[in-house]
Symmetry: C2
Subunit: 165 residues, 2 copies
């Protein structure tokens, strides 16, 4: 499923401009992430590379084609469950980059000692994401009715998805 | 259901010592909140009275007997759903303080323009809380299997609870 030329590695400060370009392109569409479409670069950097967040990039040669973050979903007594977020550069869809990052993140979460992974806010109309997570073993364990204000469709449901590691 | 002598009002900086006393007593038990049982006072203050958080106290005369926080559950395109957390001073249970804060918070959330309220991590063994939220119109919309490491019972489920406003 995944492109053999894709390498996934921890992000460095030098990757930030490329990550920000992807973050901004994805978030400004208002159809897959709750982050405000007009999120500032400073806000984005704090969210994506702030304390407690492990940040990775998917690279194709020198090009950053995707990025994901891994962190505890809850503090203290819920910190055995990981949370992650993934973004693929628009224009790089269909190359298995999401799948490759998903597989990588599950391994990284296991290595970090997490027992499960949880997504809190998968937009129900984001068919590509929902299908990807199902293929990677996640199940919908909750539905937040009208939890997302979609730029095109208005209020749509959010899914909570989960799998053990 | 609620004690006629209880008043609920916005918290001030001067309330912090009493709030911290409640926070520490509740969290250190490790049976109802994911916050680390040994959370520091600085961490607690940032969580409970930090930016973007509206903090309230329930008072009986000069005594702070409970506290709750209200904030958006998600940023940007999910910010129409409120999140809240409530703590009653141990020793003050059974006086309807949780109920009174619950009712107050629903009104406060409506006034602030939220369309719904969501709790992300109601400990499934916390019968008192689950029953209270049901009486206040919340329903379980999700279950995180083994999402909470309970100090006594080990890994138990977390509920996601939700109601429209």
């Amino acid at each position: 499923m995944s492109d053999a030329g894709i390498l996934i590695r921890p992000a460095t400060d030098g990757d930030w401009p490329a990550i920000w370009s992807i973050f901004h392109a994805v978030v400004s569409r208002g159809d897959t992430y709750t982050y405000a479409p007009d999120s500032s670069e400073a806000d984005a950097r704090r969210l994506w590379m702030g304390p407690g967040v492990s940040t990775f990039v998917a690279v194709d040669g020198a090009d950053v084609v995707g990025t994901y973050v891994l962190k505890p979903n809850q503090p203290g007594l819920g910190a055995h469950v990981a949370n992650a977020g993934y973004m693929v550069r628009p224009g790089a869809f269909g190359r298995g980059i999401g799948w490759a990052m998903g597989v990588h993140s599950l391994d990284a979460a296991r290595s970090a000692g997490f027992r499960a992974m949880q997504f809190n806010a998968v937009v129900s109309t984001n068919d590509r994401a929902v299908a990807l997570w199902r293929r990677l073993g996640f199940v919908v364990v909750g539905t937040i009715p009208a939890g997302f204000r979609h730029a095109v469709h208005g209020y749509v449901d959010l899914y909570v998805m989960h799998r053990f590691l």
